[in-house]
Assembly symmetry: C3
Homo-oligomer: 263 residues x 3
């Protein structure tokens, strides 16, 4: 039997909104460690990894490891029926082909049960090794979101270049070019406004803006985003989920056509 | 001659927004008692009844009973041109085929006259007898509206079941099922937050959510909605209009297919 | 070389939003006097004239007169990437076929360069003589905008009639007629709420509402709008841009069909 009670239910609503643009169907995995998900986007280009640790739940009972296949749009439809202050409980009986989401209003006046059919979904869990990155940028998630959106009005790809002084986002398109530079800034009133760069060596990589824009749907989950870059590795765009875990997006850099020609 | 001056003109704007989704053309009836309307929706399934009592108007002159056929979309277009703080006066000369809506801004700086052509509309006035109901639920109109909207994302019909403890709204659809229970709650800080159940006997009835959602367009008129249920009668969904009257929606319950088979 | 630094960058954003519905491509003219534009709308019915005087810029360098052809939709796309508190600098090298918009955030943390290709646009600059007008109406721009929008829900043209007492906006359409009268009002708490009429003689002119609605897109630039009317001249709808200049729209009156028949 599975019973996970999350006092801050709005977190789960935000998680769904963060990933449902990218992933249609996915297995949620429950174990003693926590409630997690790993899935490729439908075009098999980007990877999402979610972890909500068991300690973050008010009540966490998971008698045996369970993998529950869900249609994320249907799940999002149900979670949208939860109030923002509601407590959400996820329940499933052993061997059942359904999962139940229970929403309790703060004053317990209103209690809702939404039961959803589970799906069988083939998936393979990728082991993602911990890696060293050439550069790690931490910046306000709203700023990163705004930059990706702004550049999308000009071009289709973004070149992210990191130096000690700052991080530059560039694009080019039919109507012109754009460069946005964010300087390192540690002396801010509120820590969530900081832009902090940890750089081993300068790096410059190109990514599809379409995916970056999807990733930024996770911005409501965290005031800050961390972007980890290395020439040989997919970028990791991470949003921490306070006291519970994280949502991480992985995306392989594009090989520049210019570089291809040079080689 | 007819001249009805309504200081709180926004009321009339809200009335129109409440019924124009359901009814396209209707007769407004003016008499010494008040300004009223009774109309079936275009598919002849639901009935709307509106009453604005003469005492609620600052000035109410109605020399003889008058029935004015109006296209509610056109009327709504005109009323949308009134400011929310405007005083609205409805004027018609005897025998005229037009009605005039006059909007005065609070400081009298801006005065607008909108003249609309009247229509001939056949209609029969149904006598609606006062009835005893098995259960009457009073609850926040915003809550009822939210529930109907939420259930619509899952299914097409709602089963409303009343017991002494509370009222349950249920639906089922392709993606799963949903049950929302609102408990009786009289001990609230603000009376408009109360959920109060007067029950003679338990009742459980099924309705099309589409109509319920149309009814909830009247929510801006009143903080509370009253739902009166009996097995043999159409449900009445009533929104009181402060110090003036009410808007009531009537809808026959659906006969459950299961019950049909049983019989 | 051209370098124009505008501390209140949001002004330029608003200017673009004000004219891009009317004009697709236009030449911006830079001289010692200021940054200006004159353009006909695409159907050659309305004329826009913009002036931002050099004194309004924090820094204004314009070595020689320059005419820069820009696609206003592309320019608006780029300016939308500027924050509302950003400082905007317009830069162009002599003989260059591009213009650069630089956006600096208030704390200098974020600096963006957007480079846009220039276009060759044929245009003739019309000399617009100063004229005497029969009537000049000054009124809140939000009120004028609301009236044009409201009347558009009823008819296609507006008759603007000025008398000493006030200005009347009228329209007629299939569903009825509308008249909105704004009275002269000089005794207001805030000067921007005033409606002031300077009248030499009564005037009544007819205009296409479609253009009037386009003009009102400039409302965010100014709390007041000035409407100058004469029987023999195009109306001038002017929005002052604080301490910098103005944006003016010119539109020829429609010849009433009734009048045509009479003559």
């Amino acid at each position: 039997m599975l019973e996970l009670r999350l006092v801050q239910g709005s977190l789960l609503k935000k998680v769904l909104e963060a990933i449902r643009e990218l992933v249609t169907d996915a297995n949620f995995d429950c174990s003693g460690t926590g409630f997690s998900l790993q899935a490729m986007d439908s075009s098999h280009v980007a990877l999402v990894a979610l972890l909500l640790r068991s300690e973050g739940f008010e009540h966490y009972r998971c008698d045996r490891n369970l993998s529950m296949g869900m249609n994320l749009n249907n799940m999002a439809k149900m979670l949208r029926c939860a109030g923002n202050d509601d407590i959400i409980t996820i329940k499933a009986d052993d061997g059942s082909d359904t999962v139940t989401f229970m929403f309790e209003s703060p004053n317990q006046d209103k209690i809702a049960d939404f039961e959803m059919k589970l799906m069988d979904i083939d998936s393979e869990h990728l082991g993602i090794p911990d890696s060293e990155y050439q550069a790690i940028v931490r910046m306000p998630s709203s700023e990163f979101s705004r930059i990706c959106k702004d550049l999308s009005s000009i071009g289709d790809t973004v070149i992210i270049s990191v130096t000690k002084e700052g991080v530059k986002f560039s694009t080019a398109g039919d109507i012109g070019t754009a460069n946005i530079v964010c300087r390192q800034n540690k002396t801010v009133d509120k820590p969530e406004d900081a832009t902090i760069i940890e750089m081993q060596e300068p790096v410059s990589l190109t990514f599809a803006l379409r995916y970056m824009n999807s990733f930024t749907k996770a911005s409501p989950l965290s005031e800050q985003v961390t972007i980890s870059l290395s020439s040989e590795l997919p970028v990791v765009v991470e949003y921490k989920i306070a006291e519970m875990g994280y949502i991480r997006f992985y995306l392989a850099p594009k090989i520049e056509e210019d570089e291809e020609m040079k080689s």
